[in-house]
Amino acid sequence: MTNFEFSGRQRTLLLSGIVLGLVCMGWTWMNDDPLHSRFWSNFLHNSVFFTGIALMAGFFLSASITAWAGWYVTFKRVWESFGLFLIVGLGLMTVIALGNVFHWHHLYHWTDTSILDASVPEKFDSILAGKAGFLNYKWYLGGTVIFVGLWYFIMTRLRALSIKEDEGNDKDFSSHRKMRVWAAAFLPIAGFTSAAMVWQWIMSVDSHWYSTLFAWYTGASWFVSMIALTIMTIMYLKGRGYFQNVTNEHIHDLGKLLFAFSIFWTYLWFSQYMLIWYANVGEETIYFKERWDNYPVLFLGNLAVNFVLPFLVLMRNDTKRKWGSLGFVAAVVFVGHWLDFFLMLKPGILHTAHEAGGGHVGGFAAPGFLEFGTMIGFLCLFLFFAYTMMSRTRLEPSHDPYLEESLHHHV
């Protein structure tokens, strides 16, 4: 089967997932505090998580093209489709950005500009005043629209050229060479701008706190989630009879990436934690103290699920080739990194909400049913979009110069 047919049953299933998400969000909204902290924090959490997965799919596709990799080509449409989700991510993050302008939510302490007035010393926050040049709604909105828009634009170029290759008129590889240019350009653009957006979207919920490593740490978390979702998607599609040419060799390599980047994520986690713990500077340790004191299960569970489990299970060769073990780890790690983002965002948002007189609702100490329901809604939206994109063209490319290498891939 060269083309993916997005069946009515799959649509119904994913649409019901989206409806479930909407019901959960509506339920959350109605039982929320006056600031709707729980609703908006869930909205931000999932928007950031899935937008980042789309970014990482585009980023890794670009890195693979730039590095002349050949092995992934037979399933590259999965990453193309994931990457195109950036347009939805752009919409979601723009809602948050407009929320800053019109004060629909109070996720970020810095959106309260009354604390920037030095003539009111009892309210004045000198640290946030120092950051106001960056932490303001203009930067947030402009960065979101321009940078995410740019990422999406490059993804559409890569996608168009990839589809053009399928026509088979590309004897001198000119489409592929053009893809190399876009892909190479995407790497530094994503490298520089994603850091800025991570600071805005995520790090600034703890608006006083800072860490230079934070952007790379977040990026690694997104990356592992993206690989986990890729593994699950390919397994599902193979189960439906698609991707006959994606063999256990490809699955094995994806398993290696999941293993390696889980360790890389842990490396960054440890580097950030250890340096802050060792130096013991109050402005920095407050971040971990808050999480250690109030979220001990999530804090340690984060490491157990995202490091210990993939490390121990995927260390062997055969567990990376067996669907049971690899699929299980991919599913757990995917949820694990979603919890990692929960832990990055919720404590800071809760603190801000408390300051503003809200936050006396569930869903902050630990994710409840409404949080998981919302996540399922966003996941179904992501998959619905990705499957739609997959169904629009050949599922397996036909004339990529590396296609034969990918078909003969052997670990």
Binding site: Y210, T212, Y267
Partner: protein, 581 residues
Amino acid sequence: MSSYTSPIREPLVTGHKTYHQITEDLVSPTEKAPNAAWITGFLISVSLLGFGLFCITWTIWHGIGTWNLNRTIGWGWDITNFVWWIGIGHAGTLISAILLLFRQKWRTGVNRAAEAMTIFAVLCAALFPGIHVGRAWVVFYFFPYPNTRGPIWPNFNSPLLWDLFAISTYFTVSLLFWYTGLVPDFATVRDRAKGFRRKIYNFLSFGWTGSAKHWQRWESISLVLAGIATPLVLSVHTIVSFDFATSVIPGWHTTIFPPYFVAGAIFSGFAMVLTLMIITRKILNLQDYITLAHIESMNKVILTTGTIVGVAYLTELFIAWYSGYVYEQFAFFNRALGPYWWSYFGMMFCNVLSPQIFWWKKYRRNIALTFFISIVINIGMWFERFVIIATTLARDYVPSSWSYYSPTWVEIGIFLGTIGLFFTLYLLFTRVAPVVAIAEVKSILKSSGDQYTGPNAIHHGSHDDHSDAHHGHAHDSSTHADDHSHSDSKGSTYMQVVKDDLKKIEGIGPKIAATLNAAGINSFEDLSNSDTNTLQSILDNAEGNFGGNSPESWVVQAKLAFEGKWDELKDLQDRLDGGKY
């Protein structure tokens, strides 16, 4: 490894090499007397090393006071040099371990020299903490040993001690990795040697016989060592970065240091690999093994890591402002605009701006420019460490402690001495071991040799002879002439050696075979490189009546024969009628 190579890939071994020629080209430098360039280089290196040893003796004899360290600047050129050398040592393990796991075939051209470089660079680095302790005779204070100062090892919670463990582990694994790769190559050298030299190489190769069992074990241990070495690539410079980042010194205490130091180390390591390989390939005539494709790939790594380092520099700068922490802000203000502003701008220019030229393919494949940029990066990465160390320490919290630092002749002399040590060891290495891994290059020949892939592969029948086939691959004007004469001479030797039975081609009988031989077509490969029109004109001009014979299928048949696809050839011949379609 995939059994298929995409036609879009460039060949990595040029000159239509046979396995024998690879052995010949790579072993011969160890068998000949050194040339004048080698002797000159060796004398200069040994002299520098001698001066360095003198300065080290001077330091130990007179004490650390012969350096210009002062009350706030406790680390100067010594630790700058230490970090610089350790960083350089990273590329070897990256190339041999991580690129092995990533199945990057181009690593085979440079991994041996890069691993050697790693070991020599780590030796140079290890020297500095050794002499920096001042009283070298109590250096055992580093080590955990029973003592009267308490139950806990006195320095165990210091990253400086972790450094000792990290670097010695790294050195051990790198050495094992390097030596494991050398074992089959030493056996190759042995097989060609006589007398005492044979005995030595036999000892060095552990009596390697080349049996399937040996190869199987060798491949297993290479993979295991790659697995062990991969985390070490990250761990060593991570712990070096801890030396700084665990402190509370503004400018040092920042969480991005570990990955940023690792990226910088790979960056500087690749710059040094390029510096060495560009000289080595020229002097030892290795242009067919370290091709422009290799240099281009390394330049891409340079561009990538240089830009990652750029992201880190700007992140540090931005977060210093963002933090709202005045001392952090001042540290960066001072770096950029303080008394050492020139080293900060040198660092930015050399490490972030200069590699950006490699966005253009034309420049990535320009050897002279690549060499120049590699030197610029070597300097820039030294500046980076100097900026981090001296600039930061020169401006303490208390302005009354502010000071300035410049090195004494002793400190400069020790640095020059390590450069001498590095090049002395490297030059000796080129004399005793093959600088390109013979066994590993042979392993990629069938997939990446230019007779099998790329524009000069033999299925492109448009080339008349071998020498013509080499015109395409060298774009660089400075070495074009060298590449040429080199390849041509190899090509002609090759043609004399190989002679196949052309009668196996359907349609060629003994007379036509003799005619073709007279026209210089001796092997299946020669025939497959010919085109039908040329063959027809050879037949037309020859004595005898070959009018009934058409060469239209010969090129295709010869290609199958050359590639050993006898079954396919037989199928084809079954379908042919007297060599005609």
